[in-house]
Structures are given as C-alpha cells and as structure tokens.
C-alpha cells in the first residue's frame, strides 16, 4: 500500500491526471494523407512478480491496437535504443539540430516523431507487483505537442489486475481501450463470444471473452445445442436444442446461467431465434403451421405469436435491422432454387439480395444497419462458403475470405469493425475474428470443433 501511494505521488508530481472522463475524440488523420495516425508503444518492463507477465501485456496491447484498424502500430525494431518508462524520463522541446553522427536518444519526446519511428503518438509505462496485484502505470503522449510536455500528455492512468497472465491481458485490453477511445474506437472490453462446441463429446453452448480467453460451458445437456443469439442488452442467450426431442428454442440468462421461460409452438422444429433491437420481440423459424419452416415474430417469452410471411418454401435465420427495427433479412429456398438471402421490409414484398447463384446463408446486420455479412458459396463448390459483406442499399459486395477453408456464421462486434466467424480447415471448425475488411484474422478456439459463433455485447 505504501508503495502504491508513493507511486501515485510520484506520478502526480509529473502531471499525472486521473482520466475521469475521456477527452474529445481525436478526429481525422494526422498526416493529412488519408493515412492512419501512427503510434509507438515500446515494451513496458516490470520487476518482481510482474516481470514474467509483461510479454503477455505487451503482445496484447500491440494486438489490440493493430486489430483496431484505427491506428498504425510502428514496428518496435525502429524504436530508439533508449526508451522512456515514465514522464520523468521524458525531455521536452525541439530536438537539437540533427548531425550525421547524432543518434536519437529516445528520451526526447520529439525523437519519436522523427524518422525512422515517425510516430504521431507515444505510449509509455511500466508494470509492478504491489500487494500481490498486477499494477500498471500507462501514459499516452501527443508527439506533435512535444515542445510542452504537460500539454503533450493525453492521459496517465493506473490499472490493476490479478497477478497472473489473465490479469495482465485484461489490464492490457483496458490500456489499449483507453488509447483507442481517443480515436473514436468503441471498446470491446466485456464483450463475449457465444458459440457451440463439441469438445465434451456433445454439442453444448459455450461462452468466452472476445480474445478467446475465459472459455465457459453454459449448457450440460448431453445432446445437440446450437445456433446461439444474444439479446441487445447482452443479458440473454437464445439457442436451439434437441434436449426435449425435437429441435426447440431455449433461452438462458447470461447473468444467472439459468433457463428463462419460452413457450415453444407445437411443431416439428422451432429454431434460429434472434432478438429485435429493442429487445421487445423475438423472431424465429418454425414449422408450427405444417409445411416448410416459416418466419414468426413473438414476445420474448414466445407468446403473442404472429406469422410474418407465407412463402411455401423454407424460410429461416431471420435477423431484424438494428437501426430501423423493421427490415428483416433471412434465408429462403423460395423459387425452388438454392438458399438465398432476402430482405423484407414491413408490409413489402421480400426482395432477393443475392444473385441466385450458389448457396447464400447466415446473414448478420452490421451495428449501423447498412450492411450484412453472410456466407456464400458463389464461385465455389457446394459447401465451400466464404464470408461476404454487402451494402444493402447499393448491393456492393466485398469478399473477406478466400482459399482458407470453409467460412460461416459471421456476426459483428458492437464496434462495427470486428467480425467473429467459424473457419473449418480439415476436420474441425474453429472460431476466428477478423476486421470487417478481411484483415487481422485471429484464431480464438483450438479444442474440439467449434461452430455458430455470435458476438455478444457487454452485459449492461
């Protein structure tokens, strides 16, 4: 405790400000060339029990910054030999005139703005073990303001976590999120991925942090449970389970991990439920009327059922636009053809969004309601799904995966920048994330076969 207090005092003496409220978002680009701002964050060091955790910390910070797509992370190989660890190490003012022999020292903030680093921002800090906790001191500096160190400091914060790998990773996420918040990037902290895994020998519903840590088994049914979706408040998960003979919808609280009541229609199949953006309705596919599976809307407990359409063909996977609350995308086999993606606006005739070729499936709205991500075999053999994004108004397409196995079930993170999806190379499917431009692909799961992921917002 004494150590912590004195550390805060020292920090205070050098202009540490508790970041009660984040500053205004930093808009636009620094270089004016349409490039992303560049940030340099040298490896943080620590002593004692915190030292072995710093590799995980540094790697997580780098990965979060790079994966955000908002900033360019300057390669560490370009950094000066000497690295400031705290504000007292830094020297303000313009660098002395360069001479051919001069080697940037690294302590002068302006050094980080010059070639070869050429960064716009600098993150510095260090870790420590205090009271059996992992403590991290982190600062962010605007190099363009290097003439005045006080003005250049954007924030300085103390973070604490458990004194283990997981604690260091969580602290790294928080520090990276505080940096990214300055650039308008919404934090993914607290968001989780809900998915189906057969690692116990049966397909059960599991959850994990969005970075793949903290995997937890939600169901223990010993049957098939799949197709999860999460309510907009992050509190409930709905899925389809064979627990009670035919496939039925079940809803669980993610807070208590207990089943919530849901009235299933008498049908050979009720499946693939999703929530309306206001959480007041659910929409799903059912054979309640006999014949092929059709779309229904109901109250969150399954009451107040209303049929949405009567197509005479299979209709499934309905998803309500999170912004308009009315437009519904879904998959249909109408027209006697392969499954395709359709858009149905309230009162209107459904229109086909995909061009009729291949199998198109798994539509998911972007958080801003302008795009859908989906899986399509267009141009490939049946079963060779790739992830595509379509701008729903212009129908402009972007293909995010290619020649990397079978890719399915894309859903968006609340930041609108990340996508989680299932990728199958060989026998088992695994959960991956990527940016919505197809870059920064990262594997999250490794045990068993893992399918039908959905990105769950942080519980409110």
């Amino acid at each position: 405790m004494k150590l912590l207090t004195s550390a805060i005092l020292v920090l205070g003496a050098f202009g540490w400000l508790a970041a009660q409220q984040p500053g205004p978002p930093i808009q636009g680009t620094i270089s004016g060339q349409g490039q992303k701002p560049a940030i340099a964050i040298p490896d943080f060091r620590a002593s004692g029990g915190a030292a072995p955790l710093m590799a995980s910390f540094n790697e997580t910070v780098r990965s979060d910054i790079e994966n955000s797509g908002a900033l360019t992370f300057v390669a560490k190989s370009l950094y000066p030999a000497q690295v400031p660890q705290q504000p007292s190490d830094l020297i303000g003012g313009a660098p002395p005139p360069q001479t051919a022999t001069q080697n940037p020292q690294g302590f002068r903030l302006a050094d980080w703005g010059n070639a070869p680093v050429s960064a716009n921002y600098l993150g510095i800090g260090y870790g420590a073990e205090q009271n059996n906790q992992f403590v991290l001191f982190g600062w962010l500096y605007d190099i363009s303001q290097a003439a005045n160190l006080q003005g250049a400091q954007i924030f300085g914060k103390i973070y604490t976590g458990t004194l283990d790998q997981n604690g260091a990773i969580q602290v790294a996420h928080q520090y990276a999120a505080d940096i990214l918040a300055r650039f308008g990037v919404k934090s993914l902290i607290g968001t989780r991925v809900v998915f189906s895994s057969n690692r116990t020998g049966n397909k059960e519903i599991w959850t994990m942090n969005w970075d793949g840590t903290d995997e937890k088994q939600l169901t223990h049914f010993g049957t098939i449970s799949a197709f999860p979706s999460v309510s907009p408040d992050g509190a409930k998960v709905a899925f389809t389970s064979w627990l009670r003979e035919s496939p039925r919808i079940m809803i669980f609280s993610l807070v208590t991990n207990r089943e919530l009541p849901f009235y299933n229609q008498r049908a050979s199949m009720n499946c693939c439920l999703s929530f309306s953006p206001d959480g007041k309705h659910v929409i799903f596919s059912s054979t309640a009327a006999g014949g092929p599976a059709q779309l229904y809307i109901a109250n969150p407990d399954g009451s107040g059922l209303r049929r949405l359409a009567s197509s005479g063909a299979i209709d499934t996977e309905p998803k309500i636009n999170p912004k308009t609350g009315t437009d519904i995308v879904f998959v249909s086999g109408r027209g006697g053809g392969n499954p395709q993606i359709y858009l149905m606006s309230e009162g209107g005739e459904a229109q086909r969004l995909t061009d009729g070729t291949g199998d198109a499936t798994n539509p998911a709205w972007s958080p801003d309601g302008t795009k859908i991500a989906f899986a399509w075999t267009r141009g490939f053999e049946p079963g060779n799904f790739n992830i595509f994004i379509m701008d729903v108004v212009t129908r402009k397409l972007q293909q995010l995966t290619n020649n990397e196995g079978r890719n399915e079930n894309p859903t968006w993170a609340s930041d609108g920048a990340h996508i989680v999806y299932a990728n199958k190379r060989g026998r088992d499917s695994q959960i991956w994330t990527m940016l919505a431009d197809g870059t920064q692909k990262k594997q999250l799961t490794r045990v068993g076969s893992n399918t039908t992921p959905v990105w769950a917002p942080a519980a409110q």
Binding site: A226, T240, M269, C272, S285, T287, A293, G383
Partner: protein, 255 residues
C-alpha cells in the same frame, strides 16, 4: 634341333618352292571338321509355376505365373493352350481349379507342375430360426430401409419409390402386429449446406416421406418426424458417396 622343328623347316621350304611356281596349285580339300559331339538334350525344367493370389472370391482374378527352361513345347490346360517359356496369365475361375503346366523337349522328355486357385464361395446365409413374433424394433431394423435424397432437395426420387413402397408394407405389418409401437422419421442432410438451412431441409425430408407413407395407407398417428439437419452424420468423408449416405431419412423406434 628337335624333330618337329625340322618338319617345319621342311614344310616352309616346300611352300617357297610352290610359291615360286607360276602354275596355280590345285586346292586341297581341308579335312572335315570333327563331327559335332552328339547333341546333349537337356531335360526341360519348370523353375516355378504359381497362382497369386491362390485363394480368391468368386468373380475375382488370380494371376498364374511361370518360368520354364529347355522346353520346346509349353502348354497350360483348362483350355489355355500353348504359352511362352516365361509368362503370366490372369484367370477367373468360377470354382476351385487346378491348372497344370506341361512342358517337353524334342527328346520327348517332359515335366509338369500344378497350381490351384481356390475360389471361396460365400457361406450360405444362415436363416435364423423363425420366431413366433418378431419384436417391432427387429422388424423395423430388418424391413424398413433408409430413403435417399438429392442435394438441396426434399422430393422422393424415382429410384427411392420402390423402397418407400416396401417400407409402407413393412410398417403396416409392424403396426398391425404391435399396436403400441410408433416410429420416428429422422431427416438428415450432408455437410455442405449451412447447419441452419439443413435443419429446415431435414425437416422437409422427414415430412415428405411421412406424407408419402400416409398416402400409401400407413397410419399418420404412428409416425413422428424429427430433423437432425447435418448434426448426426453417418460418415464424415468429403466424397459424393458419403454425402449421399448422409442425405437420408432413417426410421427409428420412438422412445
């Protein structure tokens, strides 16, 4: 000087005398070569003669291989006839057959060897002792067959109609013998479509078969449908053969 050298000198002198003469000498007939030794006719030998494999199932082939030396006449029986000294011949005997290789030389000496190809015939199917009343589950397993579908389709194919008819007959017998018995029609799909769409497609496949069976007189209230989509594959190879096996309706006893 030895006697032999003296003879040579004399001969050389005689030749020189002859060469000096302008008259062409009369060619002297050389002595005939010694008669060849009487031809040593070696015995014909069969180095090897075998059948590979020596045991086959009916319809399969076996390779006869042989090597023979010192033979002028080489033949195989069983209607094969003359063959070369080193050879190979694939045979497809319908039953266990012994092949004889006969070789002989001009001297009339001969040798034979045999190779037997054993043909395994499937053992006769043992007929279980007829039971007075077969259990419903046994009848279902023995008489009601899976129905197969095309990719992304739920209609009963032409080549599945006979199976469906047979199933209808069998199911009616089963339900007549076991009034309390009920059946679950399980619809399944191959792994290529999406899991969500396949769940609905498997439901259609089960429903279509149930509807067709009802139209053939099977009581509707004895059959329930369930879709497993692509969740319960019977095989996991990525081949059309496996895909086809997974695109099926299976008939199971209701629990």
């Amino acid at each position: 000087m030895t006697k032999r050298n003296a003879t040579l000198v004399l001969a050389a002198a005689a030749m020189m005398t002859l060469a000096a003469c302008h008259k062409k000498p009369v060619a002297q007939t050389p002595p005939p070569p010694p008669p060849p030794p009487p031809a040593q006719v070696e015995k014909p030998a069969i180095n090897f003669f075998n059948a590979e494999p020596s045991s086959i199932d009916k319809g399969q082939g076996s390779s006869l291989r042989w090597s023979v030396t010192n033979a002028t006449n080489i033949s195989l029986d069983q209607g094969i006839g003359q063959v070369s000294p080193n050879g190979r011949r694939t045979v497809y005997p319908g039953e266990t057959t012994t092949y004889t290789l006969t070789v002989s030389n001009e001297g009339g000496e001969s040798a034979t060897a045999t190779a037997t190809v054993t043909v395994n015939t499937p053992p006769p199917v043992e007929q279980p002792a007829p039971q007075p009343v077969q259990s419903a589950a046994d009848m279902l397993a023995g008489q009601v067959k899976d129905i197969y579908f095309d990719y992304d389709k739920d209609d009963i194919r032409e080549d599945q109609q006979a199976t469906l008819q047979g199933n209808a007959t069998a199911l009616k017998q089963i339900f007549a013998a076991h009034p309390d018995f009920t059946v679950v029609v399980e619809g399944n799909c191959d792994e290529r479509g999406s899991a969500e769409y396949n769940l609905a497609l498997g439901d259609r496949r089960a429903s279509k078969a149930k509807e067709a069976l009802v139209s053939l007189g099977v009581p509707a209230d004895k059959m329930r449908t369930i879709s497993y989509g692509k969740e319960r594959p019977v095989c996991t190879d990525q081949s059309e053969d496996c895909y086809q096996r997974n695109r099926h309706d299976h008939f199971a006893a209701a629990q």
